[in-house]
């Protein structure tokens, strides 16, 4: 991969992030319904209190002044104060991000690895019972609404396996010590994890299977077989290596989508991550939190795609020569 390619991608990253920042700002200013009017209506705040809140958050300044303030603050890492709690938005986002990262990273790893393996098996034994069964099962799971799947798993898990319903920790019945806490975390994590994995695995299986079947039709595979290469080397060193390229792109793209799945899963299981934060902020019309959260999510997806862009030429040198 040459420097020009890298530089090009880096500039693209910068421009996209800037556009996202601008759009993010505009989107939340353009939405109807002043959040303080809502607080006011529900809680009977006086006009004075609303006005002081407005000026506290700079909502009474002209739009372009707000925009420059917003750019300056965002780059400095100041995402403002939450409307609902008046705590710094960063203080709300960071712990939520960590909680979601725990759930999402484990779920992603499991679903990617399992997806690849199942996909490869399905492609190798195309047409067999395993292939038909696995493809059908994963397709069905993929099409299910995440929150419905979560609810079903919750009922099964709680009633038959005495798993906790929601949250991240228990307050009674936890064996003391780090092992006890770890087991407690596992018990809380298993259901949301399963929901996410079952929802994500479908795509990976199908894409892997399709990509591998595609590779099987290539001439070099016949050549390799003719040279006497064993099945295992054929599958892994030749088949897998080529089929995994679209998977890399898919994983990066999926990051954004899995945040959406995380929103539903976290809401069902009251898992205090980014998804739940976004859900609560939408209900409370807490624009600074939403702005900050959306920005983080968008930038994460952009960066992930950037990494995928960088990884691609390393895996397949043909890509950067354009």
């Amino acid at each position: 991969m040459n420097a020009e390619y890298f530089a090009r991608k880096l500039v693209g990253l910068g421009v996209t992030v800037f556009l996202v920042l601008t759009f993010n700002f505009y989107l939340f200013r353009v939405l109807p319904g002043n959040p303080f009017a809502l607080l006011f209506r529900g809680a009977g705040l006086s006009a004075n209190a609303v006005q002081s809140l407005n000026s506290q958050f700079g909502l009474d300044k002209p739009l372009w002044v707000q925009y420059t303030l917003y750019l300056k603050n965002t780059i400095a890492g100041n995402f403002g104060l939450s409307f609902e709690t008046r705590a710094p938005v960063v203080d709300l986002i960071v712990p939520a991000l960590i909680n979601t990262a725990i759930l999402l990273s484990v779920a992603s790893v499991i679903s990617i690895v399992a997806g690849i393996l199942i996909g490869m098996l399905a492609a190798w034994h195309r047409g067999s019972g395993f292939d038909v069964g696995a493809s059908a099962a994963t397709l069905v799971l993929y099409s299910m609404p995440t929150f419905w799947l979560g609810l079903v798993l919750m009922v099964i898990g709680v009633l038959y396996f005495s798993l906790p319903v929601a949250g991240m920790k228990s307050f009674t019945g936890v064996s003391p010590g780090t092992l006890g806490e770890f087991v407690d975390l596992m018990r809380h994590m298993i259901l949301p994890l399963l929901t996410l994995v079952l929802g994500l695995i479908g795509q990976y299986v199908l894409v892997m299977k399709g990509a591998l079947l595609d590779v099987f039709t290539e001439d070099f595979m016949i050549t390799a077989r003719a040279k006497g290469i064993s099945n295992r080397k054929l599958l892994w060193d030749h088949g897998f290596r080529n089929a995994v390229l679209p998977m890399v792109a898919l994983v990066a793209l999926n990051l954004g989508q899995s945040i959406g799945g995380a929103v539903q899963t976290e809401t069902v299981f009251s898992w205090p991550g980014m998804g739940l934060l976004i859900y609560r902020a939408i209900l409370a019309r807490d624009y600074p939190v939403l702005q900050g959260a959306f920005l983080i999510v968008t930038v994460t997806v952009i960066v992930a795609n950037f990494i995928a862009d960088i990884l691609y030429p390393m895996l397949d040198p043909r890509v950067s020569e354009q």
Binding site: N34, H125, S128, F130, A166, G167, G173, L276
Partner: protein, 604 residues
């Protein structure tokens, strides 16, 4: 062909996670009362900055901090930090404080703290809610170490009963160094209340509190209180069934009640709540909605075409008590019992409209003499979308009398803006007990001063302005004789009824649940036990049943609870896990066996 082997290994590894997680926990813990909270979660640990009055914050704040006076199970004031009080004249209140209260850090509570608190709320007008409680306070002085005197600006007989139960007393020695009250995190709250703060998981999670052994009213019967936020009532219903929480509230939707009642060991508590749903007419004289609503005859006729009983069934499955006036039924003696809603009578409604000159036009819709059609929007805020069905029922009834109505769900924030601009026609919304703990809150939105021209906002959404009503409101505020106050408030409700300002609809029941196999001591009374102002009555009276172990291995309680679900009784968890493992191993083994054949590669 080894990927099947990899798959098998991988699957076995991932199975270890659930197996680990099924290890039952055994530790004995202090007696913990876990409350599931399904409304807005705690937003802050800072009592001066609390806004979401329906949030868990109020419940937690009342557990940590005390107020001068508390609401009992019927909503009447009882002593708290003030053991007795009196009015020395119409604008002076004298409160005698308890002598033995201490702050959680050991410092003694004295009148200095009360003086500091009130002066702080007076000085900091930016504090959203606390400022409300001292609006009418001119000054406060400490006459001795345990007595304070509060001087009011105007006479107000409701000051003690309605404002003091919500005004948290904060410790001077901690807060005197705080500069910015609204953003102060107060990460280790210190109060005088029955529970001490232990930990907070952050917004949208939980709060953990420990009993205060030195509480001046006596130590609570439980050792630990945990308030956990749940995003959905479905999850909470499961949680109380499985024993993960001991109390659930504050407002279960009626659809879940059968699940709760069928669960063993769970008692369902239904009490009327301190709120009511209403149908609003925009009668504001300078409004931008349909002007025919300013005619009281039109409003009365339309009121005759709204059937509370049916609507309560449609929207709440019958889990609501009907409202005839604008004060929720929980406020018993303040509700005028002589007022009955306009009876549902479409013929009479049509008659009134005919007599008033609103004849049916050629398109089937009535119009005023100058041509304005009786064509209205019935809006429902998005946060209360269950009322949409009620709106549809109303629209259908109105169609039969020649009135055209379009029900629609509007974003709550947008609707709020519309109200401020007086652009609405009609809507269904709810008034809940706000920050003021008294019945006259529900009369306050009809004061002329609350009907502000756009773009100012006031509490009023009906635009009602009546000088007699305003005078009566002043009078009831200063009336020290409860009988006299009651008479005035009844009269005010009559005025509102005669003018058909609103159509009060219903007061939905607050449905909550308790694990009665673990705890006893549910307080009686008129209020729902988990109520943002009176929750301490629950927390102080709840007592563990000594024979029930609070171990978290809930298998036995789950098997008892499996009634309507199609679970075969007797299939233990271990059996199921073993079964699942066997099935997976069989599948993998079969796959592995197939692999062993030297199959030709599937390359074309």
């Amino acid at each position: 062909m080894k990927s099947s082997l990899y798959l098998a290994i991988f699957l076995l590894l991932t199975i270890s996670i659930p197996v680990l997680s099924l290890a039952p926990a055994k530790a004995q813990t202090p007696v913990t009362f876990t409350v599931g909270w399904g409304a807005a979660p705690m937003d802050t640990l800072n009592p001066t900055a609390v806004t979401l009055y329906d949030g868990g914050a109020y419940v937690v704040m009342h557990a940590i901090y005390d107020t001068l006076v508390r609401s009992d199970v019927n909503g009447d004031p009882i002593p708290d930090l003030a053991q007795s009080w009196s009015y020395s004249n119409s604008t002076t209140v004298v409160l005698n404080l308890v002598h033995n209260a201490t702050w959680h850090d050991g410092q003694p509570f004295t009148s200095d703290d009360v003086v500091y608190t009130v002066n702080t709320y007076l000085a900091h007008t930016e504090l959203p809610i606390m400022r409300l409680y001292v609006q009418n306070v001119k000054s406060i002085t400490a006459t001795d170490q345990y007595t304070v005197q509060i001087n009011l600006i105007n006479p107000d007989a409701t000051f003690i009963a309605e404002l003091l139960p919500a005004m948290y007393i904060i410790p001077k020695h901690i807060w005197q160094n705080v500069s910015n009250f609204t953003s102060y995190a107060n990460s280790n709250p210190v109060g005088t209340g029955p529970f001490k703060f232990v930990s907070w998981g952050g917004v949208n999670t939980y709060v953990q509190l420990a009993a205060n052994p030195d509480y001046f009213l006596g130590k609570p019967h439980i050792d630990q209180l945990v308030l956990r936020y749940f995003t959905s009532y479905n999850a909470m219903a499961l949680a109380i069934q499985s024993g993960e929480i001991d109390y659930a509230g504050p407002l279960f939707p009626p659809a879940i009640v059968p699940t709760l009642t069928s669960a063993n060991g769970v008692e369902v508590v239904t009490r009327p709540d301190q709120r009511y749903y209403y149908f609003c007419f925009n009668g504001y004289a300078q409004g931008a909605g349909n002007p025919t609503l300013r005619d009281v005859r039109v409003r009365i006729a339309l009121s005759h075409a709204i059937n509370n009983t049916e609507l309560a069934l449609v929207a709440w499955g019958g889990y609501a008590t009907l409202q005839n006036t604008v004060i929720p039924l929980t406020f018993a003696k303040w509700v005028n019992p002589n007022i009955k809603s306009y009876d549902y009578n479409l013929t009479e409604a049509a008659q009134i409209l005919d007599n008033a000159g609103y004849k049916v036009g050629s398109d089937g819709i009535r119009a005023s003499p100058n041509g304005t059609k009786l064509s209205f929007k019935i809006e429902v805020p998005s946060d209360y979308s269950e009322e949409y069905r009620a709106a549809q029922v109303i629209a259908n009834a109105w169609k039969q009398i020649g009135v055209d109505a379009t029900p629609q769900i509007t974003d709550t924030g947008t609707l709020g803006n519309e109200v401020v601009a007086w652009k609405h026609d009609t809507f269904i919304w709810v008034w809940s007990l706000g920050e003021v703990v008294g019945p006259d809150y529900f009369l306050s939105m009809f004061k002329s001063t609350e009907a502000q021209p756009a773009p100012n906002g006031g509490l009023s959404d009906s635009g009602f302005m009546n000088s007699t009503y305003d005078q009566l409101f002043q009078q009831q505020q200063v009336a020290t004789d409860p009988t006299q106050r009651q008479a005035i408030m009844w009269q005010m409700q009559q005025i509102l009824h005669d003018n058909a300002v609103y159509v009060p609809l219903y007061d939905p029941l607050a449905v909550q649940a308790l694990r009665t196999d673990r705890f006893t001591g549910l307080p009686g009374g008129a209020l729902p036990p988990l109520n943002q102002y009176a929750s301490n009555n629950l927390f102080l009276s709840i007592t563990p049943i000594s024979s029930s172990p609070q171990v978290q291995s809930t298998q036995s309680s789950i098997q008892e609870n499996m009634t309507t679900t199609a679970a075969p009784a007797g299939l233990g968890t271990d059996t199921l896990v073993g079964l699942a493992a066997v099935i997976i191993i069989v599948i993998v083994a079969a796959a592995a066996l197939k692999m062993r054949k030297k199959s030709t590669p599937k390359v074309q």
